[in-house]
Amino acid sequence: MHKETWNRRELLLGVGAAGIGALGSGLPISALAQTSITVGFIYVGTRDDYGYNQAHAESAAELKKLPGIKVIEEENVPETQSVQRSMQGMISQDGAALIFPTSFGYFNPHVVTVAQRNPKTRFAHCGGLWTQGKDPANAGSYFGYIDEGQYLNGVVAGHMSKSKKLGFIAAKPIPQVMRNINAFTLGARSVDPSITTTVIFTGDWSLPVKEAEATNSLADQGVDVFTMHVDSPKVIVETAARRRRFVCGYHADQSKLAPQAYLTGAEWNWITPVKAMVEAARSSKTHPNFIRGGLKEGFVKTSPYGAMVTPVARKNADDVKARMLKGEFNIFAGEIKDNTGKVVVAKGVSLNQTAIELESMNYLVEGVIGRG
């Protein structure tokens, strides 16, 4: 056994030497300058939840395929002291140079605290919270405009719904969730202005029994297309499929779970910002503090259409998507009223994705039944 490993090591060294020789022969200098780097990922839930955490884990898995990157992961880390300890452990014990704490609630105070204590390590938090002047420079944020995906979900749902009643199951009434609900509804109403969306808030990010209950409740009311903003959409997708309704996915691709019920989905494509952060770290460029993007920048993507989606729906959605990819389409363009009748986006005003007003959205647009 000993001899074998020794021989293997020799072989590896030999191959490595040959490899470096080959490298030196014709590749650009920048490839040689790549140093090995340890990157840490921390998830708040399980890695394969078909949802939020899986989307991040998928980007970590893609990162692992790239040479010279060592990826360490920890899952089920709650938003308490534990995550501070996990991050510090990755730095002190595993030598991580870049850490991705992926849950929204990690940033304040945990990431900020650990970033202040470790100025040489880079932190890339998913959530778009980093503020110039307030937060340390070695911490940064990235996030995606997934409401674009939800808008496209809404367009498809608008075509596929026969009862003209859509359902949205959400965790908490926070701005990011409200934005998704509104985008979905606006998308559907662009197809048919009489469509309504009923929203149910379960109260927390992962409550499978409540999510199933909400789905059934809405199905009883006649809702025939569902979408959601919860950590793991698996239960909602399966329950909706069992009630023979349609469902649009979120976070990751759930089409395998219900191929006949899955229309399309709004997915994250985290590898884009993750790679940007890793490249900056490896080539010692400044740590990007705030990067965001939508479909155009490759931060989010849409799932392939399900078999049941009609050609009319596909064409409509593809057209809108093409305009989004060219940067010609704004979801929140006036006049938009909320569901109490108040005007929230004035006529003629067209808010693009980076508009600051969208960050504190606390209304639900006309056509949404429910309140935050």
Binding site: G45, T46, D48, D49, Y50, N76, T198, V199, I200, F201, T202, G203, S206, L207, P208, V209, K210, E211, A212, E213, A214, N216, S217, L218, A219, D220, Q221, G222, S232, K234, V235, E238, T239, R242, R243, L257, I369, G370, R371, G372
Partner: protein
């Protein structure tokens, strides 16, 4: 709120009562049996989770949901057996052991269940007793899952057995007065341990219903304390199996209240709605308990009825 909305909320509560109440029913029946024999098993939360995982796993691997149900009952029985044996030792407090078993059960379930989070497994069917109706709500409210009638039958069976069979009498005697039982030559430890194990098997059926029917999937957030609350449910029902049925439906319906109200447009205060069943149980306990006499129906050996 118009009559349509009211009736839909009522129907949603009824539907929820059966759907959400099924695990409550089985766990409370299992705890009822255990407590009638004089032991508290707080570990039923662990039993619920591990039986949910194992029934999902066996269903996935074997392709048969009912095989999964058997596995759920079996794993529940095993974990409860451990609780029964360990708590029978001298100087071991069964409340503490229950919490330890809960921790062990949940840990094992999460550990072994990691590969089961993604897959889908065959689920249990249901009977559409509302096929005659036009209203989708009524139809879904009368969608009875395959395990629910089993639970109802079990409740009545247990009720009858406690009063009319030798085993039922033995269990009650061991629970009310272990001295009297010993005087008759019964092994108190044996009966208690058997009752605990059987209780675990019954509670295991509840776990199977969670992962194989509703919500019908395995993940780590499946149970939200139903096993622990079953202990309160049993007291609420005064250790009567048929009353456990009613209590389970009540708690199930209360769980469905929040989403039902939201779906007709009444929003907000959902956390307070969540708190209602617990506050209600506490209130009922406060109103009905008295420091001067034992809680009616409490097995004396339990030490719970004061």
């Amino acid at each position: 709120m118009d009559i349509d909305a009211i009736s839909s909320v009522v129907l949603a509560i009824l539907a929820g009562a059966i759907r959400v109440g099924t695990p409550f029913l089985f766990v409370s029946l299992g705890e009822c049996l255990t407590e009638k024999a004089g032991r508290i098993n707080l570990g039923l939360e662990g039993v619920l989770v591990i039986s949910a995982m194992s029934s999902f796993g066996v269903s996935y691997l074997s392709g048969s949901a009912w095989a999964g149900v058997l596995a759920g009952a079996g794993s529940g029985a095993l974990l409860a057996l451990l609780h029964g044996l360990a708590s029978s030792l001298r100087r071991v407090n069964d409340i503490a052991m229950g919490v330890a078993i809960m921790m062990l059960g949940i840990g094992l379930a999460f550990y072994l269940g990691k590969p089961l989070i993604q897959p889908q497994a065959p689920t249990l069917g249901s009977w559409s007793l509302g096929f005659w109706s036009d209203s989708p709500q009524l139809r879904s409210a009368l969608e009875i899952n395959a395990l629910f009638p089993l639970g109802v039958a079990l409740a009545f069976l247990m009720s009858w057995a406690f009063a009319n069979t030798r085993w039922g009498l033995l269990v009650r005697m061991v629970g009310d007065s272990s001295d009297a039982a010993r005087a008759l030559g019964t092994s108190v430890t044996l009966v208690r341990t058997l009752a605990t194990t059987a209780g675990g098997a019954i509670a295991g059926l509840g776990g199977a219903s969670l992962s194989l029917y509703y919500p019908g999937s395995w993940n780590e957030g499946l149970s939200s304390g139903q096993g622990l609350i079953a202990v309160a449910l049993v007291i609420f029902a005064r250790w009567r199996p048929v009353a456990c049925l009613g209590a389970a439906l009540l708690f199930g319906g209360a769980g469905a209240l929040g989403p039902a109200l939201q779906s007709v447009g009444i929003t907000g205060y959902y956390y307070l709605f969540n708190a209602v069943p617990y506050a209600l149980t506490l209130l009922i306990l406060v109103l009905t308990c008295s420091p001067h006499r034992v809680l009616r129906g409490a097995p004396a050996e339990l030490g719970v009825g004061r």
